[in-house]
Structure formats: structure tokens, C-alpha cells
């Protein structure tokens, strides 16, 4: 029988669990056992995991002992998941593709190494779309089985939302972290490009791929970001309090044109709430051709993805899904000059956006055009996320409430490149101001 204190801890955020572990209120073995019990019970319906390494996770957790050492690392005893395109020593890493079955890495990816060094307990690999591209994962959204959980980090969002683990490490090349986070009602954070090493990550497009996180609060992802980027003070569980109410730039241009009315209304409501709480909220017009940025992103992504997986395509392309096969073929026929032109477009527009973003603490807009779509053949639209991912800017998705259908709403905040800490401080202020407090979707 699991102790009530352990059950309560599993339902709460990572930062609180880390504190309770350090205080000896709960033990790593108890917490890992409780997460594995939830996985056993919920996983057959949610299918959030590609594989769970229960025996090794329990062994590791118990080896930590019941009480922490004097200077315990910041994630001591915290159970987490790792997306299936990030290498884990001795645990198969297939990036959601049967073509990589049997790929058992001999070493951990650098983010996993840092996670373990910080004391985290890796429960297993969360399900992702085929080679982290567009063909959906088998995962179901914990809020509604007929609605998409997003992608590519689908299993991660579902696992964090359903309290199977406290956080996951993921990757984003388009909208792969923030979109599933929005659809499943958790916090998703994509740091600035290069802030977290992607050594040991199976690439989609190496010049864009960014390692990030899904967790339950902004302070959770801030802690993870500090640990994995090496920029956080050891033991720090939260960014410092914001010196004052932040300056927020609301971007409606382009983004609102793609959204349905409830999502536009939700974003406007959030902007009003923030302004009432003292934030300076002004609409800004970046004057950037976002559709051009989108076109350039597709060009770079397809070309780099084809370069990464050409060998696999030549050998086993007919076994790939139609979506992936087409993506690689489109990359293979992309002229070299077009690839370079797309990189030039990216550099020009990123410089323009950087100037706009430096004027504010963060820009605010929707994460996705709708709440989780009732369509399990796709993963939803990444159109509102691509500009920030492609330009290397940090971006965070925070839940803001539930729709009439009972699906999570969210907003996105993005900051200038390498202002991750400032963005997280701002997002924490916004999240606490909105104070959405979503219920747990699965008992």
C-alpha cells in the first residue's frame, strides 16, 4: 500500500518532490515505485512509453538509499522519462521507428548523462512519432482518447500529464515539445538553440534540433534547464522572483489568422489578466514575413532530414510511412542553392525578430491554432511554433485553463536568443498570475 504522502508527492510538481526527497519525507524507492504502479495501471490505454525499464529504475532508486547525502544533487531520486530519440546506455533507442529496433546505445546522450549525474532516475523511453517527424505515435491524449496528444514528443506530454513521471527530456525541430505540452496541459520549454547539448540525439535537422523539457510547472523546467545547460546554480529550484511586472509584446499578426475564435479569445483573456496584474502588455507588429520563415524552415528541415536518413531510406525506404518517405524524398530533391538561400532567409529574419524581442521580456501568442484536434492521423499544426524554433529563440508553453470540451488551453511566450533565464522568470510570473490549476486528467 503506497503511503498517502507518496501519492500526494507523485501528483505534485518536480520541484516539490525534489524538496520532499531531500527532506527525507519520501524516498527515491517509494517515488519510483509509485510512478511505476501508475504506469502499470494507465499505460495500456495511454501508450505513452516506448519501453519502461522498471527493474533498472527500481534498482537505481533503491541504491540511492532512503535519505540523501549531505550535498545531494538537485534531481536526487526524481523519476523522469527520456524521449525515444535520445540515446540511453543499454536501453533501446528507436526514435519511434521499427527500422531502428535493436539499436541499443553503448553510452548515454550528453543530456541523459547530466540528468543521471544530477541524481534523476530514468524510468524509460517515452513514445515519439516516427523518427521524430510527422507520422503519429500510438499515444492517446489523457484528456480525451479521440483527440491528438500532439507530437513528436507525444508520449512525454501524456506521461507528465498523467503523473507517470515528473518530467521528460525531449527535442523540438518544429513544434515537438510545446505543442504536446499544450495539448496535454503541461509546461513545455524549448531553450535557445545550443543551450543544451544534443550530442547523442538522433537528429531530424541538426541546425534546428533543440533539447528541451516537459514538466508540470515553469519552475520545474527552469530547474531542468539549469541542470542540463550547466547554467543553473547547483540546487537551485527556481528562477529568482521577477523584479517587477514584465513587459509583454502581444503578437496577433499572422498567428491570429491561423487560429480559431476560442484560441484567439483565450489568448486575449490571458493578455488582459496579465495587464490587470500589472504587466505592460502592448501589441507589437514585428513586420516579419512569417510565411517565408515557414517555407525556409521546411526547406532546411527536409534537406537535413534527408541527409541524416538517406542511408536508411536507400535500404528500407519502402518500409517507412508514406509521410516520412515523402519528407525524405522532398529533401533529396531540394537543390543545394535553395538550402543555402533558406539559411540566408533564416539569418535575415532572425535578426529582425531579435531586435523586436529585445524590446520586451517576452512575446505572447497562442501555441497552436486550436486545442488538441479530434484527428489521430496527424499531430496538429506547428505553424505558430516554427518561427521561434527555426530562429533559435527560447519558447515556453504554459497551460491557461480548459475549453468547454474539457481540453487544455495554453499560451506561448518567446524571448530573444540566449535570454532563457529572463523568459523563464517572466513565464513563471505569468503562470502564477493566470493560476490555471488544471485537474489531473487520469485518476
Amino acid at each position: 500500500m503506497t503511503r498517502p504522502a507518496v501519492v500526494d508527492t507523485v501528483m505534485g510538481p518536480l520541484t516539490e518532490a525534489a524538496e520532499l526527497l531531500r527532506a527525507g519525507t519520501v524516498t527515491p524507492g517509494e517515488l519510483t515505485g509509485a510512478c511505476l504502479e501508475r504506469i502499470d495501471r494507465i499505460e495500456p490505454e495511454l501508450r505513452a512509453w516506448a519501453r519502461v525499464d522498471a527493474a533498472r529504475a527500481l534498482e537505481q532508486a533503491r541504491s540511492l538509499g532512503p535519505s540523501p547525502p549531505p550535498s545531494s544533487p538537485p534531481l536526487w531520486g526524481v523519476p523522469v522519462g527520456v524521449k525515444d530519440n535520445i540515446e540511453t546506455r543499454g536501453l533501446a533507442t528507436t526514435a519511434g521507428s521499427p527500422l531502428l529496433a535493436g539499436n541499443v546505445p553503448e553510452r548515454d546522450a550528453e543530456p541523459v548523462r547530466r540528468l543521471r549525474s544530477a541524481g534523476a532516475v530514468v524510468l524509460g523511453k517515452t513514445a515519439c512519432t516516427e523518427l521524430a517527424t510527422n507520422d503519429p505515435a500510438p499515444t492517446r491524449n489523457p484528456w480525451s482518447a479521440r483527440h491528438s496528444p500532439g507530437g513528436s514528443s507525444a508520449g512525454s506530454g501524456a506521461a507528465v500529464a498523467a503523473r507517470m513521471c515528473f518530467a521528460t527530456i525531449d527535442t523540438q525541430t518544429a513544434g515537438d515539445i510545446l505543442r504536446p505540452a499544450a495539448y496535454t496541459g503541461v509546461v513545455g520549454f524549448k531553450p535557445s538553440y545550443g543551450q543544451v547539448s544534443h550530442s547523442g540525439v538522433i537528429p531530424v535537422a541538426w541546425s534546428i534540433d533543440t533539447v528541451g523539457f516537459q514538466a508540470r510547472t515553469v519552475r520545474d523546467v527552469a530547474l531542468l534547464s539549469g541542470v542540463l545547460s550547466g547554467t543553473g546554480a547547483p540546487g537551485s529550484s527556481a528562477p529568482p522572483d521577477h523584479a517587477g511586472a514584465p513587459r509583454i509584446g502581444l503578437i496577433r499578426d499572422y498567428f491570429y489568422e491561423l487560429c480559431d475564435e476560442p484560441v484567439r479569445r483565450n489568448t486575449d483573456d490571458v493578455a488582459e489578466q496579465l495587464a490587470r496584474a500589472g504587466a505592460t502588455v502592448e501589441e507589437i507588429h514585428p513586420g516579419v514575413d512569417f510565411s517565408l520563415l515557414h517555407a525556409a524552415h521546411r526547406t532546411v528541415t527536409f534537406a537535413e532530414c534527408a541527409a541524416v536518413h538517406e542511408d536508411l531510406y536507400r535500404r528500407r525506404g519502402t518500409e517507412m510511412s508514406e509521410k516520412l518517405r515523402t519528407l525524405i524524398e522532398l529533401g533529396l530533391v531540394t537543390p543545394a542553392v535553395s538550402y543555402v538561400q533558406a539559411q540566408r532567409v533564416r539569418a535575415r529574419l532572425a535578426a529582425g525578430l531579435q531586435r523586436e524581442l529585445e524590446r520586451v521580456d517576452a512575446v505572447l501568442m497562442p501555441v497552436a491554432p486550436t486545442t488538441a484536434p479530434a484527428d489521430l492521423t496527424g499531430t496538429g499544426s506547428s505553424g505558430l511554433l516554427i518561427p521561434w524554433t527555426f530562429c533559435g529563440f527560447p519558447a515556453v508553453s504554459i497551460p491557461t485553463g480548459l475549453s468547454e470540451e474539457g481540453l487544455p488551453y495554453a499560451v506561448q511566450l518567446a524571448g530573444a536568443i540566449l535570454t532563457d533565464q529572463r523568459l523563464l522568470v517572466t513565464a513563471d510570473w505569468c503562470s502564477r498570475t493566470v493560476d490555471a490549476r488544471l485537474p489531473v486528467p487520469v485518476a
Binding site: 515523402t326 522532398l330 530533391v333 532567409v345
Partner: protein, 73 residues
């Protein structure tokens, strides 16, 4: 500042359609034709945008050479 392109080159449409046929065969090229058309639209949009700038040749952005570990420097 903008400038006009003076030299007639094969359009992206012509280049990609022919190349897809050669690489994948006519059946497969036909299968991906709708996606190819969208792709060609993107490439055309990018090309027109890039050629509308009148940069000094030496200032044009060029992707970096790979570092010894295989990643961009």
C-alpha cells in the same frame, strides 16, 4: 534595394520535377507530385525573397564548414 535577375535558368518546377523522376522513377514521382508542387512554391518564395536583396557579395551569409566532430562550427 532590389535588382532584376538577367539570366534564364531552369525554373525550380522544371528542375525538381525532372530530378524526382530520375531519382525515384515516374510512378513514385507522380505519387509525391502534390507535395512537390507545394515544395516548389516554397523554394520559389525563398528564391524571390533572397534575390530581392542587393547585398555586397562578401557579406552574404554562407553556412559554416563542419567542425572536426562533424557538426557545424
Amino acid at each position: 534595394m532590389t535588382r532584376q535577375s538577367a539570366t534564364r535558368q531552369p525554373s525550380p518546377q522544371e528542375t525538381l520535377t525532372a530530378w524526382a523522376g530520375l531519382l525515384f522513377g515516374p510512378e513514385r514521382a507522380g505519387r509525391i507530385a502534390p507535395s512537390l508542387t507545394e515544395r516548389i512554391g516554397h523554394l520559389d518564395q525563398i528564391s524571390r525573397a533572397e534575390l530581392s536583396y542587393d547585398d555586397e557579395p562578401a557579406t552574404r551569409y554562407c553556412p559554416p564548414a563542419p567542425a572536426p566532430d562533424g557538426h557545424g562550427s
